[in-house]
C-alpha cells in the first residue's frame, strides 16, 4: 500500500423517480499519492463530483455505492459504518464546497465555524484552535488574519470566503482535501489569489488533494495528475504535462480544442463604411433613492458611451459587480436609465421598454445567462419559440410550425425536441432554445448577457461557433457581455473593458496584449493559460493588485 488513496472499480447507482436504476459511475479506478493533487475534470454530469464525494464514503440522496473499493489511508470508506466515516471526515479527509457563500452559516462568526471541526472531534482546546486558525488565515494570505475571524460571512468577499472555507477544511490537519469547483464562481482576478493560496498551503503541508473542475486551465495550474471523466468512466489519466501536450483520448482533445476558440475572421468589408446601429451617450443608471440631481444613490453604470455598427460585435468585459449586466438591462429598457441617450437604428429610444414601440422591442432582443430561468418550465419548446412569431409577426398555425422547425434547425437542434419541456433538455440545448426565441423576433441586435458562463467549455465553444455562423447568415450584431476574455476575443470586433460602472478602455481583440489601462492589463494577465507553469511564473504589479483586486 503505497498510495494514500486507492479507488478500485468504483460503481455508484442512482434510482430515478420511475424506479429505474441507472449506473452513474461505471468502474472508476484512481490513485493519489501522498502530497499529490489530482484533478477530476469533465463536463457536467460526468460524475466528477460524485467520485470526489465517494472518497468520503458519501453518496448523494438517491445514490448508492454498489461496488468497488475506496481505500483512503488504509481504510475502505465504502465498507465503514456511517459513524466511523464521520470520525474520519474533517480529520483525515476534508471538503471544500463550490459555493462557500452557501456553505457558511450566516448567523455565527467565521472563527466559530472554522474551529467547529476541532470541537466536534475534540482535537484541541478552543484557544489553540483559534491560534491555529489565525496561522492558516495568514498562510492563505487573507487580509487582517487576526481580526477576520470575528466577522460574519456576509462581511467578507466571495474570494475570501472561499479561502476561509479552505481554512475550515485544513484546521483538522487532514491528509486529503477535496476541492469541489472552488473557483468556478469567482472572477478571474480573484481566482488567481485563491488558487495561489490553495497551492502554497497544500505544498507547505504536503497535503494530498482532489480538485474537481471543468476548467482545464485552472486545473493545469494546481494539479500533478489529471483524470478525465465522461459518462461515469475514466477516459484518460496522466500527468498534467502529458494531458496538456499529448492527449490521447478524443474527448480530452475536444476539451483542449474548446479552450482555444477560433478567432473570428476579420471582416472582408472592413473598409466599407458601416452604418451605426446603436449609439449610447453618457448613460447613467443605478439603484436606490433618487437624489436631487435626478441620479440614483448607487450608480451601477456611470456615464458610459458606446457604439455598435451593423453586422459587427461589441464585447463588454469586466468582473462581477462592474455594472456590465446592468448596462445590458439599461439598453434593453428593463432597468430604465437615469440619464443619457440611447439611439437605435437612427432613432432615439425611450428609456423604459414599456414606452418603446413594438418594432423597436422586436429589433433588439436580449438573451440571459441562465437558460434555466429564462425558459418557462411549464411550456414545451415549440410554444416558447412560437410566441414571438405570434406576437410580432402574427403568423398562423401552419407557417408558425414551419418557422419553428426552421429556427430549431438554425440553432442545430433536432426537430423532435419541440415537444419537450425545458427541464428535459441539457444546459447547452436550453441555451440554444433561448437563442432561437430571440432569433424568432427577426432582431437586428442581440444582447447576450453571459450566455456561455453557465455552460461547460466544450458546449460553450459550440454555442460561440453557432453564434458566428448565424451572424454570417443573418447579418446580426451582438453585444456580448462576459467575464471570460477568451469567449469575447473569439467573437467580438471590439472589446470594451468596464470597471466600477465606468468604461475603462475600448480595444480590438488583436491588441489585448497591448492594453493601456492598468485595470485592463491586470484583467487580461489574470486569465489562466493552459501552461502549467503560468501561475508560478505570474508576476503581477502589487500596486495594480492592491488598487483593483478585491481581495
Amino acid at each position: 500500500m503505497t498510495n494514500l488513496v486507492e479507488v478500485r472499480n468504483l460503481r455508484i447507482e442512482a434510482t430515478t423517480d420511475a424506479g429505474r436504476i441507472v449506473e452513474i459511475i461505471k468502474g472508476v479506478s484512481l490513485d493519489i499519492a501522498d502530497g499529490e493533487i489530482v484533478a477530476l475534470i469533465g463536463e457536467s454530469g460526468s460524475g466528477k463530483t460524485t467520485v470526489a464525494l465517494s472518497l468520503m464514503g458519501h453518496a448523494r440522496p438517491g445514490c448508492r455505492i454498489t461496488g468497488g473499493e475506496i481505500n483512503v489511508n488504509g481504510k475502505n470508506m465504502a465498507a465503514l459504518s456511517e459513524k466511523e466515516r464521520a470520525k474520519l471526515r474533517g480529520t483525515d479527509i476534508a471538503y471544500v464546497p463550490q459555493s462557500a457563500a452557501a456553505s457558511f452559516n450566516p448567523s455565527s462568526t467565521i472563527m466559530e465555524q472554522v474551529i467547529e471541526v476541532t470541537r466536534i472531534h475534540r482535537l484541541m482546546p478552543p484557544e489553540q484552535a483559534r491560534k491555529r486558525a489565525v496561522k492558516l488565515f495568514k498562510a492563505l494570505s487573507l487580509p487582517d488574519p487576526d481580526g477576520i475571524g470575528a466577522r460574519y460571512p456576509h462581511q467578507v468577499s466571495g474570494g475570501q470566503l472561499q479561502r476561509l472555507s479552505a481554512a475550515m477544511a485544513l484546521i483538522g490537519d487532514p491528509k486529503l482535501v477535496i476541492f469541489d469547483e472552488p473557483t468556478t464562481a469567482l472572477d478571474v482576478t480573484t481566482q488567481i489569489d485563491v488558487l495561489k493560496a490553495f497551492k502554497s498551503v497544500m505544498r507547505a503541508g504536503g497535503i494530498a488533494g482532489v480538485y474537481v473542475s471543468h476548467d482545464l486551465a485552472v486545473v493545469a495550474q494546481i494539479a500533478d495528475h489529471i483524470v478525465v471523466l465522461k459518462g461515469g468512466e475514466v477516459q484518460e489519466t496522466g500527468t498534467t504535462a502529458q494531458i496538456l501536450s499529448a492527449a490521447q483520448h478524443p474527448y480530452t482533445r475536444e476539451l483542449l480544442a474548446a479552450f482555444e476558440p477560433k478567432r473570428r475572421q476579420a471582416h472582408a468589408d472592413a473598409d466599407v463604411v458601416t452604418k451605426q446601429l446603436l449609439r449610447i451617450d453618457n448613460l447613467t443608471a443605478g439603484y436606490g433613492a433618487v437624489r436631487d440631481d435626478g441620479l440614483p444613490l448607487i450608480r451601477a453604470v456611470n456615464s458610459v458611451s458606446l457604439a455598435v455598427e451593423k453586422g459587427r460585435n461589441l464585447g463588454i468585459i469586466g468582473e462581477s459587480g462592474c455594472g456590465k449586466s446592468t448596462l445590458a438591462r439599461v439598453i434593453a429598457g428593463i432597468h430604465p436609465a437615469a440619464a443619457g441617450e440611447i439611439v437605435f437604428d437612427g432613432r432615439e429610444l425611450q428609456r423604459a421598454a414599456g414606452k418603446r414601440s413594438q418594432d423597436q422591442l422586436r429589433e433588439m432582443q436580449i438573451v440571459f445567462q441562465y437558460a434555466d430561468t429564462a425558459l418557462n418550465p411549464a411550456k414545451p419548446v415549440e410554444d416558447i419559440i412560437a410566441r414571438p412569431l405570434v406576437f410580432y409577426h402574427g403568423l398562423d398555425r401552419r407557417t408558425r410550425s414551419k418557422r419553428v422547425d426552421q429556427l430549431l434547425d438554425m440553432v442545430r437542434l433536432p426537430k423532435a425536441l419541440r415537444y419537450r419541456h425545458p427541464s428535459e433538455l441539457s444546459g447547452g440545448q436550453k441555451q440554444r432554445v433561448n437563442f432561437a426565441r430571440a432569433l424568432a423576433a427577426d432582431p437586428k441586435l442581440i444582447i447576450c448577457d453571459e450566455i456561455t458562463s453557465a455552460l461547460d467549455t466544450v458546449v460553450a465553444a459550440a454555442v460561440i461557433e453557432l453564434l458566428k455562423e448565424l451572424q454570417r447568415e443573418l447579418g446580426l450584431s451582438y453585444i456580448f457581455i462576459s467575464h471570460d476574455l477568451s469567449v469575447v476575443e473569439a467573437i467580438c470586433d471590439e472589446i470594451m473593458v468596464m470597471y466600477n460602472g465606468e468604461r475603462v478602455e475600448q480595444i480590438t481583440p488583436d491588441k489585448v496584449k497591448a492594453a493601456t489601462h492598468p485595470y485592463s492589463k491586470l484583467l487580461f494577465s489574470s486569465v489562466p493559460k493552459l501552461d502549467p507553469t503560468w501561475l508560478d511564473g505570474l508576476v503581477r504589479d502589487p500596486d495594480l493588485v492592491s488598487q483593483y483586486g478585491h481581495r
Binding site: R20, V22, I334, G354, Q358, F368, Y370, P377, R387, S423
Partner: protein
C-alpha cells in the same frame, strides 16, 4: 445504458401514484356522484316522516335509522351531500378564482395597486370568519346564494395571499423579464407565463380551502345560520339530531362521519396527488 427496475411502484400514464391517494379520490368521486344523483336514488322524500319512533336504529328499509322527527336518515344524508358539496364547491371556486387572479395581477403589476389590494385583503383577513358569517347571515338572512357569497368572501383573502406569494417568486424569473421586454400584456403574463407554473400548488390550496369551507358551512349550519329546514346539509343534520347523542343514534353519527370522510379524503388526495415521472427513458 444499464437499466433495471427497482421495487415495483405504481405508475399510470407517466405518473406515479399511491394507494392512499387513489382511495381518497374514490371517496370524493363517490360523494360527488351522490351529490349529483341524490334526487333519483333517495328511497324517501326528505320531508316524509316514515318511522313511528324518533332516533330509530339502523334496520331494513331505514338503513341509517331515523332522525329526531322519524324521517329517513339515509335520504337526508344523501341529499345533504348535495348541499354540502354544492355550496362549498361554488364558494371555493369563486374564492380561489378571484383570489388567484387578483394575487397574480398584484404580483405582476406591483406598485400602488399591489399595496392597495394587499392592505385591503389583509384587513378582510383580520375579521374572524365565523363572526363575519354570523353578522352577514343575521343581517340579510340565510339563503343559498347568500351562503355561497359569504363563504367566498371569507376565503378570498387567503387564496389571494397564497397566489401572490407564489406569483412573486415566478415574477422574478428571467422568462418574465423576456416576456415583458417583448411587450406582452398583463393578461398574457398572468394567464400564460405565471399560471401554468403555480397551478399545482394553487390546486392543492383549492382542495384545502374546500375543506375549510365545508367545515365552516357545517359550523354555520350547526349554529342554525346555514340552510333552513326542511333542507339540511351535513352540519345542520348533526345539529338537529344532537339530541340523539345520549342514545348513540346513527342520526348524529352518520352525518359527522360524512363530513369527516369528505374532508379527510380531500386532504389526503392533495397530499398524494400523482407525481409526473420525469425519467423519460422509463
Amino acid at each position: 445504458m444499464v437499466a433495471r427496475v427497482a421495487a415495483s411502484r405504481r405508475s399510470f400514464l407517466g405518473h406515479n401514484y399511491n394507494l392512499v391517494g387513489v382511495i381518497a379520490a374514490l371517496v370524493i368521486l363517490a360523494w360527488t356522484l351522490i351529490a349529483i344523483f341524490a334526487p333519483y336514488i333517495i328511497p324517501h322524500s326528505i320531508g316524509d316522516i316514515v318511522d313511528d319512533d324518533y332516533f330509530g336504529p339502523m334496520r331494513q328499509g331505514l338503513w341509517l335509522g331515523s332522525d329526531y322527527l322519524g324521517r329517513d336518515m339515509l335520504s337526508r344524508v344523501l341529499m345533504g351531500a348535495r348541499y354540502t358539496v354544492g355550496i362549498s364547491l361554488a364558494a371555493v371556486v369563486i374564492a380561489c378564482f378571484s383570489g388567484v387572479v387578483l394575487g397574480m395581477i398584484a404580483a405582476v403589476t406591483g406598485g400602488w395597486l399591489d399595496t392597495c389590494l394587499s392592505r385591503f385583503l389583509d384587513a378582510m383577513n383580520s375579521i374572524p370568519s365565523k363572526l363575519f358569517g354570523l353578522v352577514v347571515v343575521a343581517a340579510v338572512g340565510s339563503s343559498i346564494p347568500v351562503l355561497i357569497l359569504t363563504l367566498a368572501v371569507i376565503y378570498t383573502p387567503g387564496a389571494y395571499r397564497f397566489a401572490r406569494a407564489l406569483a412573486v417568486n415566478i415574477n422574478t424569473m428571467d422568462f418574465m423579464t423576456v416576456a415583458r421586454v417583448r411587450g406582452e400584456s398583463t393578461i398574457y403574463l398572468i394567464g400564460s407565463e405565471i399560471l401554468p407554473n403555480i397551478i399545482r400548488p394553487v390546486l392543492a390550496d383549492f382542495g384545502l380551502r374546500f375543506v375549510f369551507i365545508v367545515l365552516l358551512l357545517s359550523g354555520l349550519s350547526f349554529l342554525g345560520l346555514g340552510l333552513q329546514p326542511p333542507l339540511a346539509d351535513w352540519g345542520a343534520l348533526v345539529r338537529e339530531n344532537i339530541g340523539g347523542l345520549p342514545f348513540a343514534a346513527p342520526a348524529v353519527i352518520v352525518p359527522s362521519l360524512a363530513i369527516a370522510s369528505l374532508t379527510i379524503s380531500v386532504n389526503l388526495l392533495i397530499d398524494n396527488l400523482p407525481k409526473k415521472i420525469r425519467d423519460r427513458n422509463a
